[in-house]
C-alpha cells in the first residue's frame, strides 16, 4: 500500500507537466517548501549550465499522466550555483555545503517555424525541432550536510509558478534520489563542453 501511495503522489507530481502553466517571473514570494524549509532561490536563472535533458512518456494507461496531449514531453535544463559547478568540474564528491542545483522543466512542443526553415536548409532530412513552450516547474537540491543529515545531506524543493509543492510531494524526493547514492544522490552528469 505504501508503495502504491508513493507512486500515486509521484504520478500526481508529474501530472502537472501535461498542463500548460503560465510563465512566471522567477521572483520568490517568500513561501518556503515543506519539510526542508527552502525558499525559491533568487537569481537561479543566472546560474551556469550543468546539462540538459528530455523526459518523455505516455505509453501508459495511467490517466493521471496522460492528459490532453498524447504524451508527457519535457525539455529540461540543470543549472548550478558557483559551488555546485566547481564541484562538478572538479569531480568532487560529496558536494560541499552550499552547493545548489536547479532543475528547470518546460513543456516541450514542436516548433513549426523552425521545421519550415530546416526543410529549406536541409531538404529531405525530415528534421524536427522541439523547443520549450511554457514553464512547468523548477526543483532544487540544496547541500547542507548537518541540516539535512537525514536525507543524504540534501534539502529538496519543488516550485510551480513560484509556489512550493505539497508535503506529500516533497516526501517523494529523497527516496527517488537514493539510487544515485554513489554520486551523492545527484542524477545529472556534467555535459561535456563542445
Amino acid at each position: 500500500m505504501k508503495r502504491i501511495a508513493f507512486a500515486l503522489v509521484a504520478a500526481a507530481a508529474l501530472a502537472g507537466a501535461v498542463v500548460t502553466t503560465a510563465p512566471v517571473s522567477g521572483q520568490s514570494d517568500g513561501e518556503a517548501a515543506p519539510i526542508y524549509g527552502i525558499k525559491l532561490p533568487q537569481g537561479y536563472r543566472d546560474w551556469r549550465l550543468i546539462s540538459v535533458s528530455e523526459l518523455a512518456g505516455g505509453k501508459s494507461d495511467n490517466t493521471a499522466l496522460v492528459g490532453a496531449r498524447m504524451a508527457l514531453e519535457q525539455l529540461r535544463a540543470q543549472l548550478g550555483n558557483d559551488i555546485a559547478i566547481q564541484a562538478f568540474r572538479d569531480g568532487k564528491l560529496p558536494f560541499p555545503d552550499g552547493a545548489m542545483i536547479a532543475a528547470l522543466h518546460w513543456k516541450e512542443v514542436s516548433s513549426d517555424e523552425n521545421d519550415k526553415i530546416l526543410a529549406v536548409g536541409f531538404p529531405g532530412a525530415g528534421l524536427r525541432s522541439s523547443v520549450p513552450q511554457s514553464a512547468v516547474n523548477v526543483q532544487f537540491m540544496v547541500k547542507d550536510a548537518k541540516k539535512y543529515a537525514a536525507t543524504g545531506g540534501w534539502g529538496f524543493a519543488d516550485f510551480t509558478g513560484g509556489k512550493p509543492g505539497s508535503e506529500a510531494l516533497h516526501k517523494t524526493c529523497f527516496p527517488c534520489h537514493q539510487p544515485a547514492k554513489d554520486r551523492d544522490f545527484v542524477f545529472t552528469r556534467y555535459a561535456p563542453t563542445p
Copy 2:
C-alpha cells in the same frame, strides 16, 4: 544546382552529428573560423542560459544524414553573454554590438540508469529520459553591425573539437538564418523562467 550544392554542404554539416565526437575542453586553439574571422570565445560555457532544444530527424533516404544510428538526435542549449542575455530579457531588437550567442550541440542518448529509476518512482508511466552522450559542435553568432553589415550585422562561427568548420560550411549560416530576419536573424526565443 546552387540550391542542391547548398543542401549538400548543409547536409554534410549536420552529418557530423551522427558521429560520436570526444568531449573537448572548450579551450581555443586560436584558429579563426573562415569568412568571419571569429575565434572560439573563451569561457562561453559560463554564459547564461537562453533556452534548450532538441533536433531530431532521419525519416529520410539521405544517407549523408542517416548514419550508424537510426536517426539524428541532438540535445541543444543556447547560452548568451551578458549583452545578449540583457537584450533577450528586455526584448531589445536588433541585438546591440557585442552580443554573442552560443549554441551547444550534444549527441542525445537514452539514459538506461535514469529510466530504471523512473520505472520505480513512476510505475506504469513508461517514462524515458534522454541525456547528452557526447559533444558534437558549438556554433556562435557575434553581433557587430558595421563589421558584419553584409550578413545582417552578425558574424557566424562553427567549431567541432575546437577546430573551425570549412568555408563552404560557413557560407550556409547566413542564408539559413535569413527567415528569422524580423527577430534579427535569431531563431532561439528566451525560455520562460519556471
